[in-house]
Symmetry: C2
Subunit: 813 residues, 2 copies
């Protein structure tokens, strides 16, 4: 077997995304080889004597990932660029190819357009459904059962609707059962109480059972998992159609059950499901995990956009909180997607107002400079409440995981629902829909709001144009303060138990509600302080600005600031929080108060516990999430982190001196996801890197083709001449001349340009490279000689160890 004997080499593989190193000047061949490997139905190995690797020889599944594995961003993006080059090249060939090229160029925009449309419609359906189900707990519209209370009363054409929004067409369950309309005795009350609890239990049980039976991934808010997925992790089915369907239905039921949860977080998850499903219509995105994440980023922006009617806030939320890889192109597309979604939702108009958000408010009064003090205090309270909430919730979730409680998810939901219903009903502020509560607390007292909390003495609301004067709080306000205080305690406690149960559950609305309660209470307090000193006896810092009879304190604004503060304390959002809140109110006027509160809240929260609720849940579940925000500040070196640490040998292949049997032996005896390739055991200089999955698939394809592959066949991982000389040496030594076995050419599945670092590289640089380049692993060398390997999991475990946490809590690869 001489140099020309290399014609007997059997060529395996080709078309693998990570065969980056093989890009030759003759890139047409490369492009051909790259064309959509997994669409080919038949796998097989290439015929011998041919090194070019035509598309027919591609092995299906190469370039894909296993479930619960980390993706390789560089490899996927390189695959996409190759695909793109192929299309650009082919464009000149025919009109069809030109159209295909144009379709490819537009598919990103088209995809986000469709995602935006679907997300908007989905949100509209869920909003309408949830309202209808919620109203069903209280009563029915007998003339048209499919209408909710508001629509039912619209259709009645009554001009006077009583204070609780009831009208003659709408019958409460008490009325349905035969009690008269204005009877307020114990039997009617108890009847309503009973029906309320009954419906709540029914809805909750249904919701939990649906999730348990059909789509276990539909539970929770989904944002921690989406963060993990967007950072480059595979969770199959998490964004699938079943999850979408079940989550849509069960979130409506869960909201209607009156549990302390919101549908805004799950809407982000559902929008991402929509994005994921629709991405499969566009192979450019559906077949490439890294590219798909661009669509998912846009979809999450659309989710927030429809949840709050805040497109810019949605984009910033996606940028700040959810996304990992966010190029500027994605920013622009996310904006487009969010805008389309908001536009569609606005056209559907589920809330019957023109603002596409449930709590749109506009205040008349500007805020005053001295009010920054109470706003900052609200921020501090928000940070404290947020940190307390996170700590308790994580404690309870950890208890659930470790105890037998976790085995009875439906029972848990039923119990919590029962508690919620029984305790919530007597207090009017917990009985009402949480969104309505927030709207009530945000709004100004005036013609449109004459609730108990607006019961001021000597205030006349008959004239809309007249300025609201500052007034003494009446007994209604004091009663409301007590009820609100109880509602706050109840919401806080019940939300701790609710978030993390096996039903869809968002945190935005409960957090906003808690914050709004605190804020409104502080606001009323401030108002009464100013009132009691009003006129000349005001302290100097009030006097200039609050001298008139006009109300200079808007308790609703305090509620809004408080809501932002608690939400900030829980989620640790910053810019996106302020922008969402400011889009809710429709004016730039209150950015400064919101910002002051958000900042105070974040600082206090961060001082008490480093992680926001989403990061805490990621950590609890052991997802391999490498946070972009955390700074790695230790002085360890790559050599301290790499595997193997002690004297155990590193599992490697040599480039041209191992037999198939030896390779399979190593594959079977280890569970590494990839193996470095070195020149030889004597000269441990790095040649390349091969992934276990690719190698296993290639060997399987080889065996499918030729059943009599000898385990003694030499495996070649390189095409360079130096290999041949090695190979010659080995062959002449090992097998003599009898029955010469064809060597197997595996070089196509080898990445000849793996990322390498020196052993003295500080870990902060390594962590930075993992984050910014989206690496899955890196090889550690010293003066060119291979020393070890660092995987993303090693990095994550090292970070945990450095932070004195349990490194074994990182579960996946």
């Amino acid at each position: 077997m001489n140099r020309s004997g290399s014609q007997n080499i059997i060529d395996v593989g080709g078309g693998v995304g990570n065969s980056l190193g093989n890009t030759s000047d003759d890139d047409m061949v490369e492009l051909e080889r790259e064309g959509a490997p997994s669409t080919r139905p038949s796998g097989g190995i290439s015929p011998p004597l041919d090194g070019s690797g035509l598309p027919e020889e591609n092995i299906p599944g190469l370039g894909q990932y296993e479930d619960f594995h980390t993706i390789d961003w560089q490899r996927d993006i390189a695959r996409d660029r190759m695909r793109h080059r192929l299309i650009v090249k082919k464009k000149k060939d025919s009109i069809l190819e030109l159209i295909r090229g144009a379709h490819d160029a537009w598919s990103g925009w088209l995809c986000v357009l469709v995602v935006g449309l679907c997300a908007g419609m989905m949100a509209g359906v869920i909003d309408i459904g949830a309202t209808w189900l919620t109203d069903l707990k209280f009563g029915l519209c007998p003339s048209a059962f499919y209408l909710n209370k508001e629509q039912c009363c619209w259709s009645s054409n009554e001009t006077v609707i009583d204070i609780s929004g009831n009208c003659s067409l709408w019958l409460t369950w008490a009325e349905v059962m035969g009690f008269s309309k204005h009877e307020s005795g114990a039997p009617a009350y108890m009847g309503l109480y009973f029906f309320y609890t009954l419906w709540a239990l029914l809805f909750a049980t249904l919701s939990a059972s649906l999730v348990r039976m059909f789509a276990p991934y539909a539970c929770g808010s989904g944002i921690p998992e989406i963060k993990t997925i967007l950072s480059g992790f595979i969770i199959r089915g998490y964004l699938g159609k079943w999850t979408l369907l079940i989550k849509s239905v069960s979130i409506m039921l869960a909201v209607a059950a009156g549990l302390s949860l919101g549908k805004e977080g799950p809407m982000v998850h559902m929008a991402c499901c929509t994005g994921n499903i629709l991405a499969y219509l566009f192979p450019k995105y559906g077949k490439n995990e890294a590219k798909k994440r661009e669509i998912l980023s846009a979809a999450s922006a659309a989710g927030v956009s429809v949840a709050f009617g805040a497109p810019i806030g949605g984009v910033l939320f996606s940028l700040e909180e959810v996304s990992y890889y966010f190029p500027l192109k994605t920013l622009w597309r996310s904006f487009f997607c969010a805008l389309i979604a908001a536009f569609v939702l606005q056209s559907i108009n589920p809330f019957g107002n023109e603002h596409s958000v449930l709590f749109y408010v506009e205040y008349n009064n500007p805020w005053l400079f001295f009010e920054l003090v109470p706003f900052l205090i609200l921020g501090i309270i928000g940070g404290l409440l947020g940190a307390l909430f996170i700590r308790c919730n994580i404690y309870w979730c950890r208890f659930r995981k470790s105890s037998r409680l976790g085995q009875y998810p439906v029972t848990e939901v039923i119990l919590v629902t029962l508690m919620t219903s029984l305790l919530a009903y007597p207090n009017k502020y917990t009985r009402m829909n949480t969104s309505e509560l927030i709207y009530l607390l945000f709004s100004q007292c005036g013609v449109t709001n004459q609730e108990e909390i607006c019961d001021y003495t000597n205030r006349n609301f008959t004239n809309v144009n007249q300025a609201v004067n500052i007034a003494e709080a009446g007994p209604g306000v004091y009663a409301a303060m007590w009820e609100l205080g109880l509602a706050l305690v109840f919401k806080m406690i019940i939300t701790i138990f609710t978030f993390g149960m096996k039903i869809p559950a968002g945190l935005f609305i409960p957090s906003l509600a808690m914050g709004a309660i605190v804020g409104r209470m502080v606001g009323i307090g401030m108002e009464q302080i100013v009132y009691s000193y009003h006129g000349e006896s005001l302290p100097w810092f009030f006097r200039g600005e609050c001298a008139q009879e006009e109300s200079c304190i808007t308790p609703g604004l305090y509620a809004m600031v408080g809501a932002a503060a608690v939400l900030g304390g829980v989620t640790r959002m910053t810019v996106s929080l302020v922008v969402i809140m400011f889009e809710l109110t429709g004016g730039v006027r209150y950015i400064v108060p919101l910002m002051a509160a958000a900042m105070a809240s974040k600082w206090v929260g961060d001082a008490l516990g480093r992680m926001g609720i989403y990061d805490a849940h990621i950590s609890l579940n052991g997802y391999p999430f490498l946070d972009i925000k955390d700074e790695f500040s230790h002085t360890t070196l790559a050599a301290d982190v790499m595997q193997p640490q002690s004297n155990e040998p590193l599992s490697v292949f040599t480039q041209g001196s191992m037999t198939l049997g030896e390779v399979e032996e190593i594959l079977n005896s280890t569970d590494h996801n990839g193996f470095p390739i070195i020149i030889s055991t004597e000269s441990q200089y790095l040649v390349g890197f091969v992934l276990r999955r690719d190698l296993v698939l290639a060997i399987k394809a080889l065996r499918n083709r030729m059943e009599d592959v000898s385990p003694d066949a030499l495996v070649l991982f390189t095409t360079s001449p130096s290999t041949d000389s090695h190979l010659l040496g080995h062959n002449s030594l090992g097998e003599g001349g009898s029955n010469p076995v064809c060597p197997l050419q595996f070089s196509k599945i080898v990445d000849l340009s793996p990322v390498t670092i020196a052993d003295k590289t500080p870990m902060e640089t390594v962590v930075d490279m993992f984050r910014k380049l989206g690496l899955r692993q890196t090889l550690v060398t010293h003066n060119g000689r291979l020393l070890g390997i660092i995987t993303k999991k090693d990095v994550l475990r090292h970070i945990k160890r450095m932070d004195n946490e349990d490194p074994e809590s990182i579960l996946f690869n």
Copy 2:
């Protein structure tokens, strides 16, 4: 000389930022070594026998950069982390250190706070100054010369101010010269014309002379250079105090001269100057180029924020257009900075309205769905105009550079000013301040706007609350259309010649003005079409929405959309453009029209010319700017790009077998900025990398300390035992036992973990690494053996070559 003889090694260097590889477990020593190298007054080498490198032995200037050089982000960020660790360690030592630690932790926020305050005040001063100077061209307030026209008329307490805003206290130059107030004859007109031109020439000459004499960097908008600087390039003095001072004065003069330029772009530059100057108050930022760029990003956000009163738009502008390295922390701080700046400017209230922007408008009518067609057409026109403008402007700038014209900058300014003045005065739309023109075109016809363009027949503006009905255009409107058309042509041509002259000049305002003219004309056209068909004869798509007598077309909205389209075509901004425009109008209602126009404009513009005006100017000036937005789509490999390409040898040092003389010989015979270090000439495996600057400084410091350094002294670049054996071999061979020269230990200035890539790495990955990691150079290896080096300049030149452009146009390192 045996192993213990290494005690005779002379230790050089220490405290270098890039001695990252030397981080040891005993990091206290490392930290000590790191402490603020350039504050030490005396440089010198460490005494022999000591390897720890105490701070006293630091060489000043190590870790700094030369002018017109690229910075190394990784190295600077690592330096900052070391500094941070030192502070955290020391914190426990004393109260003083605790305070110092707290100051350090807060300094980022404090710095952006101060930057925001200063940027806001600066903008206020410039706005007031520019307005005063502009009014000076027309007349004077004799009673208080320091007041501008508006303030002068306020102080007069007159209730009726005539249509051009004149009042009795304000005297035009014609009146000052003795003509009566309402004389409108030729002499008065010519007198005003003469004074207008005279003042304009005076202001322009002064402006150009100031720039030429004191601060040549003050010219232009500054945004191309700021983009380059933020991408990691050093231009000393570009953001200095002289530039700030001269630019502030000369932008006021240039605006007042009536040239077709705006002060908004220069305001970004001036805000960055403020940021740069204030960063020196905080050593954390002032002494670290990479960290300083975080402050500059925030400052540029503040610049846009004060220029347009758009804080969120400013942050997005900084993110999308200007910044390069934009971590989330910077996002939050930029937001804070932008908000503070806007708040301060609003408190100063230079325009006398409460909105801190010159053209605040709010429309009454919603836009209609079919209007998307004209909006898209406006977008296409905007893209065409933008691309045309860029092409002509670049052509002219290139001509200026290559011809003798470039040698007479002041003469050029005077000539262009003369042309501008003579041509602008006769047309009222070019005579007025460009900002006022934009405001006029944006505004609705109504009580507050009764200009010629609002001359409709049968329209009565006496009642504010009455809806404006749709009406036939009167003769005034037709006259205005002609004048506006001429104004558009004039603005377009004169701006091409103006932008790029050696005076401060922004492009935002001229672009907005051009777009507003186009938009208003299209809007009036649409309005008249709808009017001519109004009532039942309207086409079906109009009918439902435009049936009433009310005006359903707002020409002002078209002007706004047109302005966005042209600005988008010129700058290729996307999200930030839409957000800025939407913040100008204060409502989310018109986001969809703005977005449609911006998108159409960008696509048309990109199809006609890849680069926006700023990128085109960066390319024209040959700055080494590696755009994050462009995708590298070629299939070349690192081996094709690296230096050396042919057979010429790579300049390298060996780790322990070169004498000082040999090292200096290589330093003198080459001009590379850094040199790889290999094991030996026989075994070319990579050890590390040393920067020329560090090495030259270290040798200089050595000679300062010991004048009799023998050129035969061995230079050691490593501390590993293998060196010692090499050294022993060399020493015993070369010098025998006579007069043993101490070897010089240079290992502290060696980076033992340079970034390396394999020769087969595709260039797309290499470009990605340069962008994301902020590399200055990377070393190319094959199986661990050093092959060559790729610098940022090589990458940029390769990109140019691949795009069939002149690679030699990249000028700097």
